[in-house]
């Protein structure tokens, strides 16, 4: 009956941990909070640049779950549910503050637009450049497209979870994702040849 390993992927919760949480064991809450804290923190940085505000908001989110624990089901601690609740909280707060922002993403890093000439392997150099190129392509996408790329390839959510987090229909998500990937492909010249070389050389 050991399901300890399941806690990490969030698809299923450890039964004993869940029971302890329900019974009011605050250490169990700590363990549950630990599981997706990084994912939540990272997502929140796309909505706010204030680390105190982010930490307070995530803390509030978990404490609200704690206070409603009697009524909760296990799904409350599934990653996509937490991301959705956090997104809602962050946006609600922004509306309350009358400062609505679409998710903000990091601006393009200057160091990658300017690859070093001292890189010893020319292939690696090329990959860095390509990687920077792809980054630039992604950062030029619309906020909505970026969020979908982020949720799919950074948070590694499936289309259904993305739909739930962003409050969109499943079909819209798969259309938008398809369109976005197509856009990327059209302008992205990958460095596959060089990369393969590198793999076989290493």
């Amino acid at each position: 009956m050991n399901q300890e390993e399941n806690i990490s992927n969030g698809s299923e919760l450890n039964i004993r941990l869940w029971q302890r949480f329900k019974a009011g064991d605050s250490e169990a809450l700590g363990q549950l909070a630990q599981t997706h804290y990084r994912a939540l923190y990272n997502y929140a940085t796309k909505f706010s640049s204030d680390p105190d505000f982010i930490r307070d908001t995530i803390q509030e989110l978990y404490l609200e779950l704690w206070e409603r624990r009697i009524f909760l089901s296990e799904t409350a601690f599934v990653k996509s549910y937490l991301l959705k609740a956090l997104r809602h909280k962050l946006i609600k707060e922004s509306i309350r503050l009358k400062r609505f922002h679409e998710p903000q993403v990091a601006t393009f890093d200057a160091d990658l637009s300017d690859p070093s000439i001292e890189t010893h392997i020319i292939e690696a150099e090329h990959i860095r450049f390509q990687n920077g190129h792809l980054k630039r392509i992604i950062s030029l996408l619309s906020k909505r497209q970026q969020e979908i790329i982020y949720l799919r390839f950074y948070q590694n959510l499936d289309n259904e979870d993305i739909a739930s987090v962003m409050g969109l229909g499943r079909q819209s998500v798969s259309n938008l994702l398809y369109r976005t990937l197509k856009e990327i492909k059209e302008i992205w010249a990958p460095a596959e040849f060089f990369w393969v070389l590198l793999v076989f050389l290493s």
Binding site: G24, G30, I58, E64, E67, Q130, P190, E192, V196, V199
Partner: protein, 358 residues
Amino acid sequence: MSLHRTFTVEELATDDTFRLWVINPTPEIDRHWQQWLQLNPDRAGVAARARELVLAVHDLYKDDLSDEILSQEIAEITRIAEERNIPFYQRAVWRAAAILLLTGGLSWFYYTTHNTITPAGKSTEITLESEMVTRTNQADVEITVLLSDNSVATLSKGSSIKYPRHFSASERRVYLTGEAFFDVAKNPNVPFLVYTNETVTKVLGTSFRIKAFDGDNTEMVAVKTGRVSVYPKKDYEMQHGNARLAGVILNPNQQVVFNRKDKKLEKAVAANTGILAESMLLKDQVFDDQPVTAAFDALGKAYGISIDYDSALLTNCMISAQFKDENLKQRLNAICQAIGAGYDMENGRVMISSKGCN
């Protein structure tokens, strides 16, 4: 492994072990994927793209959360959860709350004979006198002061607060002499600053109590929950706008004492938790399926404030809630959330906005 044969860029880029291989490989995973590449040379291009995609997205969106901060936050969540181990009523709207207390000694009566709240030497800070409002509480009971950013100050007797009728866009600054509890509306972009004689306390949105009467030997700041930064006023003003200030950051149940003689801040564990409430008086309220208008009226009466609402719109709105330790803002939030309404504070009044209930 042959299962991977049909993998597309998207499938590879979202495969857990592939992602691990790209970002944080173990020898075992590395061997697995190197082998896979040799068995599937036709997928090398796809794998290369997937790798670039994973790396680009990772680079583009990574954050700087350290393990240290992470475990600190988890410990904090666990600790507060422990404190709140009694289940709260269903519609609880919890906000991070910080209680801050600046205590004084014996001289509150000094104040009663000196009714100005602007001590000498402070004049340079106050540039827009005409916009400032001063409220002084000479009654025996607390008074509730509503600020333009939806923050609430509960002023103790013999205390005075000075604040702008409308806060500026860059900061929310108030001056306090004596004692007050603040419940500050959260706005990370516009810090809320409380100036007393000797200290500046900076928050982004929490609740806290201040007690700083003129002539005292010490001031004290004590935090219940949330985060508060306290600076000696001199340091704050000298370094304002420069690099990060070396203030004292208080976490829940910590306090700091400012000694006016040696001008130093000393951090300690908070001793008295009885002061960590908005009101010294108990304001128990129970609304059992009552019209929300009655709840607003009762709330207005309990806090001595005006709450304006459209009674025609709210006729169908009913509310069930109990309040015990909640602040005014928590009560307003809970009631408004229950009926899908909002509120604003204008000219010292609470204005309820609602589309009505069905």
